[in-house]
C-alpha cells in the first residue's frame, strides 16, 4: 500500500506553466470555434492567434518581472525552470511568432491558411518550444521538442506543393533520427548519473570526477549529433536548404529563427557545463563544428542560383556563427547570442517576407525557380522601394554598420576575443567577408542589372497586403534603428543571462 502523496498546490508553483498554457488553450479555442462554425475566413484565425500570442507575451513580461525580483523559479516538481535564459528565449520565440503570423494574410490565396488546424498546430508548436527552453529536465526537453517538431512537419506539408511534401518528409526523417539520438544520449546520461536533470547530471559527474569519461563521450556525441540536426550544423545540415526551399518563404524564415533559438538554449544548458568542466575534446569538436558550419555554409551559399536557397545557407552560416557563443561560454558570449538572435530575427524574417510578397503561383517560362536571382534583376527600376528594403536587409545580414546585425556581430566577435579565442575571432571576421559576396550578389542584381523581361514591378509585391507591408515595415525599422535600442537590449540581456548564472 503506497503512502498517499502530499503535495501542496503552492509548492507546485503552477504559475510557471502559464506562458505555455496560454498558446495551448488558444489552440484548443481555435479548434472549438471550427467545430461550432467552420469555413471561417483566415483573418479571424490570424487575429485570434495574434491576440493569444500577445497575451502570452504579457505573461512573459510578468514572469520577467518576477525573475528580476526573485531570481530563478522552479515549479511543478522542479521540472520547470524559469531562469533568464528561459525568459529571453521565450521572448524571442513569441515575438518572432507574432511577426510571422500576420504573414498569412496574403493577397493570393494559399491553401494552408484556410485550415484552422494550421493555426492550432502553430500555437501547439510554440507551446512545445516554450516547454523545451524552460526546463533542464531532458525528458521534458524531449517532449517539447517532439511536440514542436511534429507540428512543424505538418505545417510544412500543408503548403501543398510537391516540394513541400518532399521537404516535410525529409525534415521528418531527419528529425526522427535526431530524436533517436537525443533519447539515446539522454539514456546514457541517466545510466551514468541516475538523473535526467542537467544540473544533477553535472553535479554527479563533477562529484565522481568524470571517471566514466568514455560513456560521457558517447552520450555527448549522440546529443551533439541530435542538436547538430536541429541547429543544422555541418555535416548535419543537408536537409536545411531543401526543407527551406520546399516550405513557404515565411515559414522558412521562421524555421531559421525559432526552432534554432530553442535548440541553442538546450545546447547552452547542456554543453557549457561540459566545456567548463574541462572536457577538452568536446571543445575541439565544437570548435571544428563551428568553423566548418560558418565556412562551408558560406561557400555553398556563394554558388546558389536561387535566393531562397542562398538565404537558407546563409542562415546555416549565421547559426554557426552564433554557435560560437556556446563554445566560448562566457557571460558576454551568451549575452551576445541573445542580442544577435533578436537582431537576426528582425532582419531574417524581413528578408524572407520580401520573398513571400513576390511569391508567384505559376512560374514564367524563363525562370528556373521561384526566387532565382534573375527575377530580381533591375528591380530598382520597377519597384524602387521594395528593392531598397531588400537591399537594406542584405546589408544588415552582411553586417554593414549601422544596421541591426552589425551590433550583434561586433559583440560576438568581441566576446570571442575576451574569451581568448583570437583565431576564432579572425575566422568569424573573415567569414563575414565571404558572406558579403553573396549578399552583394543580390544587391548587384537588384541595383545594377537591367530587367530581363518587361515587367511593371508588380511581380515584386503581387502578394502584398497591408498586414504584410506592416510586418516588413516593422522589420525594416528594427533593422535601421537598431542602434538606438542596442544599449537597452544589451543591458537587459546581460542582466538576465548573468542572473541565471551563465
Amino acid at each position: 500500500m503506497l503512502a498517499p502523496v502530499n503535495v501542496s498546490i503552492e509548492s507546485l508553483n503552477l504559475m510557471t506553466l502559464v506562458p505555455m498554457l496560454i498558446p495551448i488553450i488558444g489552440a484548443l479555442l481555435i479548434i472549438i470555434i471550427d467545430l461550432f462554425k467552420s469555413e471561417q475566413d483566415k483573418s479571424l484565425y490570424v487575429m485570434l492567434s495574434l491576440l493569444i500570442l500577445g497575451v502570452d507575451f504579457v505573461a512573459l513580461v510578468d514572469s520577467a518581472g518576477v525573475f528580476a525580483n526573485n531570481g530563478t523559479i522552479m515549479g511543478v516538481f522542479d521540472v520547470m525552470l524559469i531562469d533568464g535564459l528561459a525568459i529571453l528565449s521565450q521572448f524571442i520565440i513569441v515575438g518572432a511568432s507574432m511577426l510571422f503570423i500576420p504573414l498569412a494574410l496574403t493577397h493570393k490565396r494559399f491553401h494552408e491558411f484556410s485550415y484552422p488546424e494550421f493555426f492550432a498546430l502553430f500555437l501547439f508548436m510554440i507551446a512545445g518550444f516554450q516547454f523545451m527552453v524552460s526546463t533542464d529536465n531532458l525528458i521534458l526537453v524531449f517532449v517539447g521538442l517532439e511536440t514542436a517538431s511534429l507540428a512543424l512537419y505538418t505545417l510544412i506539408a500543408m503548403h501543398n506543393r510537391d516540394k513541400s511534401f518532399e521537404a516535410a518528409i525529409k525534415y521528418f526523417t531527419m528529425g526522427a533520427l535526431a530524436a533517436g539520438f537525443f533519447s539515446f544520449g539522454s539514456m546514457v546520461f541517466y545510466a551514468l548519473t541516475g538523473s535526467v536533470e542537467i544540473n544533477k547530471i553535472a553535479a554527479v559527474l563533477a562529484a565522481n570526477n568524470y571517471e566514466d569519461i568514455g560513456f560521457v563521450l558517447i552520450a555527448v556525441v549522440f546529443l551533439l549529433a541530435s542538436f547538430g540536426f536541429k541547429l543544422s550544423m555541418v555535416p548535419f545540415h543537408t536537409w536545411t536548404p531543401d526543407v527551406y526551399e520546399g516550405s513557404a518563404a515565411p515559414l522558412a524564415g521562421y524555421m531559421s529563427i525559432v526552432p534554432k533559438i530553442a535548440a541553442f538554449i538546450v545546447a547552452m544548458r547542456l554543453f557549457e557545463f561540459l566545456i567548463h568542466s574541462g572536457v577538452v575534446w568536446l571543445e575541439v569538436i565544437l570548435y571544428i563544428g563551428v568553423v566548418m558550419t560558418m565556412t562551408m555554409a558560406n561557400v555553398w551559399a556563394l554558388v546558389q542560383t536561387d535566393v531562397k536557397r542562398m538565404l537558407a545557407y546563409s542562415s546555416i552560416s549565421h547559426a554557426g556563427f552564433v554557435m560560437a557563443a556556446i563554445l566560448i561560454g562566457t557571460t558576454q558570449s551568451n549575452s551576445a547570442l541573445f542580442l544577435y538572435w533578436i537582431l537576426f530575427s528582425f532582419t531574417n524574417l524581413g528578408s524572407f517576407s520580401m520573398l513571400w510578397i513576390s511569391r508567384q503561383k505559376n512560374l514564367p517560362a524563363h525562370q528556373q525557380s521561384d526566387h532565382s536571382y534573375d527575377k530580381f534583376s533591375g528591380m530598382v527600376k520597377t519597384a524602387p522601394v521594395a528593392a531598397t528594403i531588400m537591399g537594406l536587409f542584405m546589408l544588415s545580414l552582411a553586417g554593414i554598420p549601422p544596421f541591426a546585425l552589425f551590433w550583434g556581430k561586433i559583440y560576438m566577435i568581441s566576446s570571442a576575443i575576451t574569451g581568448g579565442y583570437t583565431v576564432l575571432a579572425l575566422i568569424m571576421a573573415l567569414n563575414s567577408a565571404i558572406a558579403g559576396y553573396y549578399y552583394l550578389k543580390l544587391i548587384v542584381y537588384m541595383f545594377m542589372k537591367d530587367p530581363l523581361t518587361e515587367n511593371n514591378g508588380h511581380v515584386y509585391s503581387s502578394n502584398a497586403t497591408l498586414p504584410l507591408r506592416t510586418i516588413i515595415g516593422i522589420a525594416a525599422i528594427g533593422t535601421i534603428f537598431a542602434f538606438i535600442v542596442v544599449n537597452q537590449l544589451l543591458e537587459f540581456v546581460t542582466l538576465f543571462v548573468y542572473n541565471s548564472g551563465y
Binding site: I400, S414, L430, A433, G436, Y437, I443, M448, F483, N487
Partner: protein
C-alpha cells in the same frame, strides 16, 4: 550652432538626401547643388571658427550610443582632419555642379549626398566604432555609383572594390575590438573612444600585432602595393564623378587613418614597421609609375599616377616626424585637388569622344586650347613643379623621410622624375602634333559647367602652391601634438630615437616653408 557644427556637417547631406526623394527629377540637379553649397559654406564657416593655435580636438560632441559596451558618438576636428573635411565638401559641390547628362540622375545625386555623409563622418569620428561605421558605410554608395553608372565591366569592378575593402576592414574591426579589450583590462571599462585609447601604453608585441590588423584595413583602402589591384579597375569603370570622389577623398581615408590610429596608438610598432612600409611605399611609387607609362588609356595613366603619389603620402607619414607627417597631410589635400581635377579633365574628353584611348587623340591643343591649358597646369602640378600645390607636399614628405633614410628618399625622388616622363609623354600624345583623327577636328572646348569645376581647382592649385601657410600652420600645430604624444608613449629606445622630441627642436618646420615661397 557652432557647438553642433560637426554633427550638422555629417548629417545635413543625409537628411537632404532623404528629402531629395521627394524632389522632382527635373529639379534635382539644382537641389543637389544647393545642398552641397550649403554644406560647403558650413565647412568654410568651420574653418573660420577653427582656432589654429590649438593642437587638440575642437568642436567636440559626445552622445552615448551603446554605453554598456563603451560605444559613444564622439566627433571632433583638428588640423589633420579639418582640411580634408573641407575638401570633401568642396568636391561634392563641384562634382554635382558639373555633372553631365546621365541616366537616373536623381538616384546619383541622392547617392552622392549619402556618400558625403559617410566621408565627413569618417574624418570627424573620434570613436573607433563610429569611425568604422562611416568607413564601411562609405562603400555602399560608391558600390552603387560604380556599379550602376560605370563602364562595361562595372559590376566586376564594383564588387571587387567592395569585397577588397570589406575584407580588409573586418580584420581591422578585430583589431579595434582587441584594442577595446586591452582598454577594458587596463581600466575595467569598455571604451572605443580614440582619445581614451591614446592614453593606453601597450607592450611592443601587442602593438605589432594590432598594427598589422589595422594595417590591412588601411593599406587596402590607400591602396598600398600589393593590395592596389582593385583601384585601376574601379577607376577604369567608374563614371567621372565616381573617380573624382574616389581619388580625391575616399583614398585619403586610409592615409588619414594611419595618422589618426596607427601612429599615435602604436608608436613602437610604427618604428618597427617603418622600413618595411617605406619599402612597400617606394615599390608602389616606382612600380605604378612604370605601369602608368605603359598604359594606353589616359584614365589608367591618371589612376596609376594617383596610386604612385599615394606612395609618397605613405612615405611622409612614416617619416614619423613633424615635417614628414605635415607634408603627407598637405599632400593628401594636394593629391585630392590635383588628381580630382585630372579625373575631371579625363571626364571632359570622354564626354565628347566616348573613348579614353590616347592614340585616338593628338593635336588637341589646337582644337581645345583652354582645355589644353588647364590640363597642362594640372599635369605640371601632378609632376610636382615648384609653385604648385603638389610640390609643397612632396617636398615636405621627402624631407621628413630624408631624416630617416637617405637612400630610400633618393629612390623615391627618382620616381618623381619617372612621373614627369609618363605624364609629359601622355600630354604629348594627346595634345601636340597634328590632328590625326577627323572626329577630333571640331571638338568643342570646355563649356561653362565644366569650367565651374575646373577653374576653382586651378586657382587652388596655384594659390596653395605659392602660399601654403594657411594650411600648413594649423596642420603643423596638430601634427606636433601627435608627434609629442608618440614620443612620450614610445617605450623602446629605437622609437625614442626615431620619433623626435618636438619640444626640443621646435622651429625646424619654418625652413621648408621659406623654400616653398
Amino acid at each position: 550652432m557652432l557647438d553642433h557644427i560637426l554633427s550638422i556637417l555629417v548629417f545635413f547631406p543625409a537628411l537632404a538626401g532623404i528629402l531629395g526623394f521627394v524632389v522632382n527629377k527635373n529639379s534635382i540637379r539644382s537641389y543637389g547643388v544647393a545642398v552641397a553649397t550649403i554644406e560647403f559654406g558650413l565647412a568654410i564657416w568651420l574653418w573660420f571658427a577653427f582656432d589654429s593655435n590649438v593642437s587638440g580636438m575642437q568642436f567636440m560632441e559626445q552622445i552615448a550610443l551603446v554605453p554598456a559596451f563603451g560605444i559613444n558618438y564622439i566627433v571632433g576636428v583638428d588640423g589633420v582632419s579639418l582640411f580634408i573635411v573641407i575638401l570633401a565638401a568642396f568636391f561634392t559641390m563641384i562634382g554635382i555642379a558639373s555633372l553631365g547628362e546621365m541616366k537616373d540622375i536623381k538616384n546619383l545625386i541622392i547617392t552622392l549626398l549619402f556618400l558625403q555623409m559617410t566621408m565627413v563622418g569618417v574624418f570627424v569620428a573620434l570613436d573607433a566604432i563610429v569611425f568604422y561605421l562611416f568607413w564601411e558605410l562609405s562603400l555602399v554608395p560608391m558600390l552603387y555609383i560604380i556599379g550602376a553608372w560605370g563602364g562595361p565591366l562595372r559590376i566586376y569592378a564594383s564588387v571587387k572594390f567592395f569585397l577588397y575593402t570589406f575584407a580588409g576592414s573586418l580584420v581591422m574591426l578585430v583589431g579595434m575590438l582587441f584594442m577595446a579589450y586591452f582598454y577594458y583590462q587596463a581600466t575595467g571599462e569598455w571604451s572605443f573612444a580614440l582619445l581614451d585609447w591614446y592614453r593606453l601604453i601597450l607592450p611592443e608585441s601587442f602593438q605589432n600585432w594590432l598594427f598589422v590588423a589595422f594595417f590591412f584595413g588601411f593599406a587596402i583602402k590607400v591602396p598600398m602595393f600589393p593590395f592596389h589591384t582593385w583601384l585601376p579597375y574601379a577607376h577604369g569603370q567608374a563614371p567621372t564623378i565616381g573617380s573624382v570622389i574616389l581619388a580625391a577623398i575616399l583614398l585619403k581615408m586610409g592615409t588619414y587613418a594611419f595618422i589618426r590610429f596607427s601612429l599615435p596608438l602604436f608608436p613602437d610598432a610604427s618604428v618597427y614597421f617603418m622600413y618595411p612600409i617605406a619599402v612597400l611605399a617606394i615599390i608602389m611609387i616606382i612600380y605604378t609609375a612604370m605601369v602608368a607609362y605603359a598604359q594606353k588609356d589616359i584614365k589608367q595613366v591618371v589612376a596609376y599616377s594617383s596610386v604612385s603619389h599615394m606612395g609618397v603620402i605613405i612615405l611622409g607619414t612614416f617619416a614619423l616626424n613633424v615635417e614628414g607627417i605635415t607634408g603627407s597631410i598637405f599632400l593628401m589635400i594636394a593629391h585630392g585637388v590635383v588628381s580630382g581635377a585630372l579625373f575631371f579633365l579625363v571626364g571632359v574628353i570622354y564626354d565628347r569622344r566616348h573613348t579614353k584611348i590616347m592614340s585616338e587623340f593628338g593635336g588637341l591643343a589646337s582644337v581645345m586650347p583652354r582645355y589644353a591649358t588647364i590640363f597642362g597646369i594640372m599635369l605640371m602640378a601632378s609632376v610636382g613643379l615648384p609653385l604648385t600645390i603638389n610640390f609643397i607636399g612632396e617636398f615636405l614628405s621627402l624631407l621628413g623621410f630624408y631624416k630617416q633614410s637617405h637612400i630610400l628618399t633618393l629612390l623615391a625622388g627618382t620616381a618623381i622624375i619617372v612621373g614627369a616622363i609618363y605624364m609629359l609623354s601622355a600630354y604629348k600624345k594627346m595634345f601636340f602634333g597634328e590632328v590625326t583623327h577627323e572626329e577630333n577636328r571640331n571638338l568643342p572646348d570646355v563649356n561653362k559647367k565644366e569650367l565651374l569645376a575646373l577653374i576653382p581647382l586651378t586657382i587652388i592649385t596655384i594659390w596653395l602652391g605659392v602660399y601654403p601657410k594657411v594650411l600648413l600652420e594649423p596642420i603643423n600645430k596638430s601634427v606636433e601634438g601627435i608627434v609629442t604624444l608618440m614620443h612620450e608613449k614610445s617605450i623602446t629606445q629605437e622609437a625614442k630615437l626615431r620619433i623626435p622630441n618636438v619640444n626640443k627642436d621646435m622651429g625646424l618646420i619654418t625652413k621648408p616653408e621659406r623654400e616653398a615661397h
